[in-house]
Amino acid sequence: MLRKLLFLLVLSLVLLLSFSTPVYAIGNPTSITIESVRIFQNLWVDGDQLYVVQFKVMYDPVPEERSGDTFLIGITPTTPMISKPLDYYLHNFTSIYLTPTQAIGWKGSYSIKVMGNPAYFTTLTEAVNMRTLALSDPYWISGSMADSREYLGAWCIQLAETFSSDAPVGWGIDLLTATGKLNTVGAVKFREAIPGLEGIVPDIFAVAVSYPEYTPEEHPKTYEEYLRTVGGERLETALNNLGTFLHIPGAIVGGLGLAILYFVLAGRIFTATGSVPAAVTVSLPFLFAGNLIGILPLYITFIAGLLVLVMFGVTFVLGRMG
């Protein structure tokens, strides 16, 4: 009997431990508020949205658990809920960025919610461990890309001034230079809260890195293409007919004919001068004449000219060195 009881006790303990799950718990904050919200549009691309939220999730002492695990910030009602982990406890600000695809209806009936993670809070109660702020008209900042960026820059400076203020308003930490731009500490904070901010409002940073706009040069082959058309229909037809007779393309007929005339000319000059470089160089303009009447592509002439230059360099320079 005793052995049966002992066996049942051990079995129940084993079952209890094998089905037990870890339970997370954290106390409620002393207060939770949403201090301000601004929503901007058309910042990086047309149709995107940026929600900049200033909040207070006050604790004393600060919990050991990471705020990203215990709290989140989101937009409701959306399906699924648009949310992200909260970056920090206490007084701070963050942002939610929505691409044009993710964006919700502009000036729609939405709310910003800062709330405890249900994994850590058994019940969520408004004003205890959750705060909801309905997004009314003044929070939505409409504008073109240029205007929205300007408004965002101004709002960022205003936020920096708030957090630079002495207690109880702010941290007492200077986030701005004497000229009203974000100093290095402010830059770190704002880059962290609004990724990519420096790319769209670099002027609010005392030191900003930006890449110059570059428009690649275009090199259209308009003159070469024009030269190919100057031959005219009659010449093209004649060359094509001759090509058909010789079973080769008409363009090659024209090039071959020109090449024969070129070498005849070069040979005549060589006979007169005895100099190969002179014969080749003086005959070059003949190739260009072929370009002008549209029976020889322009690049052939340039290749020939390059070869002449190389030959000249070898003959003249190496000859001098010899």
Binding site: P61, E64, Y88, Y89, L90, H91, A167, G172, V185, K189
Partner: protein, 107 residues
């Protein structure tokens, strides 16, 4: 200006992010540096622990003066002392004429 009071509203993780910047550290006055270090050290302490620690630092080291200096009950002070001892910030020293508290580390 950075003070112990103003830093009560900043998450120590956020403050730690700033303190890793040499420009921020270089810009602090000695008083501000002390306030930052105090915040980083005591952020996860209860208010009672901070009050007892501050009182001990100021020289209130016996159980007769601590309740007056902190405004806490003896039980609260005892509890705070135990926690601070566990963290290594306070050490109880037995002297022939009584018991005094000393801080093992200074800010």
């Amino acid at each position: 200006m950075i003070t112990r009071e103003s830093l009560q509203s900043i998450d120590p993780r956020q403050l730690g992010r700033f303190t890793r910047m040499s420009e921020f550290r270089a810009s602090l006055t000695p008083e501000e540096s002390e306030a930052v270090q105090y915040r980083m050290t005591t952020a996860h302490w209860t208010q009672e622990e901070r009050l007892v620690y501050d009182a001990v630092q100021e020289g209130y080291t016996d159980m007769d003066s601590l309740p007056i200096a902190t405004g806490l009950t003896t039980a609260q002070i005892r509890s705070a002392i135990e926690k601070l001892q566990g963290k290594g910030y306070v050490k109880e020293v037995i002297i022939p004429t009584g018991t005094e508290l000393g801080s093992t580390t200074k800010l």
